[in-house]
Subunit: 421 residues, 2 copies
């Protein structure tokens, strides 16, 4: 039996009872003969509460101190988990990011892992102990300061450890049963998927699926670490990512899932002079303030010839910053006006089978138009098609598309009140 890395998110360790339940699960894996390494997040909403506390004491909390503050959440969870496992009679030791050899750059709040040297973790495993590692954190050897890895940090910790330690698999425990063919809260007929490829998972995560972060999936893909997303509240198999599909000679499903995203806004720059470089100027202005542009559409202006309208989507939290930057440079950029629209929703269909099958776009557009749903923007990749609609009809659009591509289950999915974290 080999090494398995297990990651438990905040909702799985939300209180003492949950911690004891997770401890039993970990002990079970050890008793079954595995070497076990665990990456754990902070309990429940601890991280958000600490961020809130920081903003109560300072308007602009310093990033180095913020990392010092936030990393206490995972330390508390890991120490309690180690105590609970020891109480069951097994040897368990907790390790901070630093003690686990998680070396990062100095980018506080979103540090990149530069090296992983888990010497003490290996030693603990050799001595028959279970290693509990604090997720979401690392250590910068230059400044000797603690760093945090940014969103999805605990998933990244788990996958990085799995890669370096040569684990058989990396189990991501959460409060939903796995990756679903659509968000079961808006599409009750969504099915739990048994298997998803790395690429499909990347597209789903980028398109709004919240159960895994892109960065961790990419890390897993690059190092060939199989991921298993499953619920910490039962023993059923979840969703495998990165392992070959059963009967892999069979054709892959054309569409694996439908992702939905209500976190973006749309900015339309009206009347951009249709001259080389002007569009680039617009995007440079927006990029310079750190806003992440997603979909882009350029239309011939309806107002005036020789001009074009450019629309793009971006996270709502970047919206104000981008609008302010554009307004400030309106004269030099030369556009007429700006329209800010927070009422959009993004729907994406993802499927590896799209590569070898024509007609997927047509099927998608037909299904939506038959339901009277208007498409405002379109963007595609090899295995994904995204469309923008009005936010209020996004749930209906998801259900329509889910059914149109034959993804509906025979009975409605059991919807846990989970967040997928």
């Amino acid at each position: 039996m080999g090494l398995v890395v297990q990651k438990y998110g905040g909702s799985s360790v939300a209180d003492a009872t949950s911690i004891k339940r997770v401890a039993k699960r970990i002990a079970q894996a050890k008793k079954a003969g595995h070497d076990v390494v665990v990456a754990v997040s902070a309990m429940g909403d601890t991280t958000d509460e600490l961020i809130d506390l920081a903003h109560q004491v300072a308007e602009n909390p310093h990033s180095r101190e913020m990392d010092m503050l936030l990393t206490t959440g995972e330390r508390i969870a890991m120490a309690l988990l180690a105590m609970a496992i020891r109480d069951l009679g097994l040897d368990a030791r907790s390790f901070t990011g630093s003690q686990a050899g998680m070396m990062t750059n100095a980018d506080h709040g979103r540090a990149r892992i530069v090296d992983v040297t888990p010497t003490r973790v290996r030693q603990a495993l050799d001595e028959g102990a279970i290693a509990i590692v604090a997720g979401f954190q690392g250590f910068n050897t230059d400044s000797k300061d603690i760093t945090t890895l940014g969103r999805g940090g605990s998933d990244t910790t788990a996958v990085a450890l799995a890669a370096v330690l040569g684990a058989e698999s990396c189990e991501i425990y959460t409060d939903v049963d796995g990756v679903f063919s659509a968000d079961p809260r808006i599409a009750p007929k969504a099915k739990k998927l048994d298997h998803v490829s790395y690429e499909e998972m990347l597209e789903l995560a980028a398109s709004g699926a919240k159960v895994l972060y892109i960065r961790a999936v990419e890390f897993a893909r690059r190092h060939g670490v199989p991921l298993h997303v499953r619920s910490s509240f039962g023993d059923d198999e979840g969703t495998w990512i990165g392992t070959p599909r059963e009967g892999s000679r069979m054709e892959e499903p054309i569409i694996t899932g439908v992702a939905s995203d209500l976190s973006e806004a749309k900015i339309t720059v009206v009347g951009v002079p249709d001259v080389p470089g002007k569009a680039a100027d617009i995007f440079t202005i927006v990029a310079d303030v750190g806003a992440n542009i997603d979909m882009i559409v350029q239309n011939i202006s309806v107002q005036q010839s020789g001009h074009t309208d450019i629309s793009f989507t971006l996270p709502k939290e970047d919206g104000e910053r981008a609008m302010n930057a554009l307004r400030a440079k309106q004269a030099e950029a030369g556009f007429d006006s700006l329209i800010y629209d927070e009422g959009i929703g993004k729907l994406s269909v993802v499927g590896a089978g799209m590569r070898t099958n024509a007609g997927v776009s047509a099927q998608l557009f037909r299904a939506l138009s038959d339901a009277g749903i208007n498409i405002e923007m379109i963007s595609t990749s090899e295995i994904r098609i995204s469309v923008v609609t009005r936010a209020d009809i996004l749930p209906e659009a998801v259900r329509v598309v889910h059914e149109a591509f034959g993804l509906d289950a025979d009975t409605d999915a059991t919807v846990h009140a989970g967040t997928g974290r």
Copy 2:
């Protein structure tokens, strides 16, 4: 202007508002020209809450993990404090016990400091920054594990830093105005003392006064660090410990203060054979289970000749352990029976002037007997006399003795709802 070390206890940093108030005070000291180093405790009741959480997940929380868990409290406080000070425009950096060079042995939960090498703290000061150090914690270089220093740990951190950095003084901020001549909650006429010697403070702390821990006072005495115990809620001078009294050629007051202690219980071992070694056996049995014996009285047995009764006091929390150990070895020790009494109180008068003045004991016993208060046990040192009375009359005894030795203020002390921590 020199270096000052400031220590803030849990009640001084209990919430965001308190932290901001403390940040202003620290900034004030810096702007006045001092180099400032701060040792800080966990916010409010955080430590107790974490201990409670630990006992919810495990019956016997492992000591290494407990230290990992508890040290998060001080880390949270120090990071928030550094953020708040930076928000006021000053450079402030937080340091864990490890980052501040607080090296200890491996005794988890009550580690001893073996060396202090505050390189990063000195560097921060040289660069004009304020250094915030997490109290109560250190680092064992052999195991590379975090340790906690036990009760009064934050005071010890502060004094150790003050000693090694050569600070002018170490200010201990708390929620009472200073060291009082008696506990103002039971003796309203108690006065805040302007000055107390190291020895007197040691005796007061050992005798029940909770405002400073013995260990920190001893550290200060050994390294000649002046301590200033004062309230974090105002600007008044508190109590100086270890600086020469004003007009030091004048005679020292005979009695400086009256300490009271309700935390002890009394065990009487009845009918110990009056044979060499038997008493030593009794104390060995008790010491072997880690119980701390305080006062000891040996009386000729009233029951039978050739036998003696031995009474001793010890912390209530050690009582059950000691009683069980004695019962288990009753046959070999040869005593007749045991009496356990939790209804005792200990009163101590402390004063450096006792050395050169006869009659203090007589004055004490007279005052108590005049008030009809019975003395059950007596114990003395060079500058302290302790007596045991019934617990329920201890408050009255304190008031009687306080008045008899001329310590009463003209008006009642303002009693803050403080805990002295």
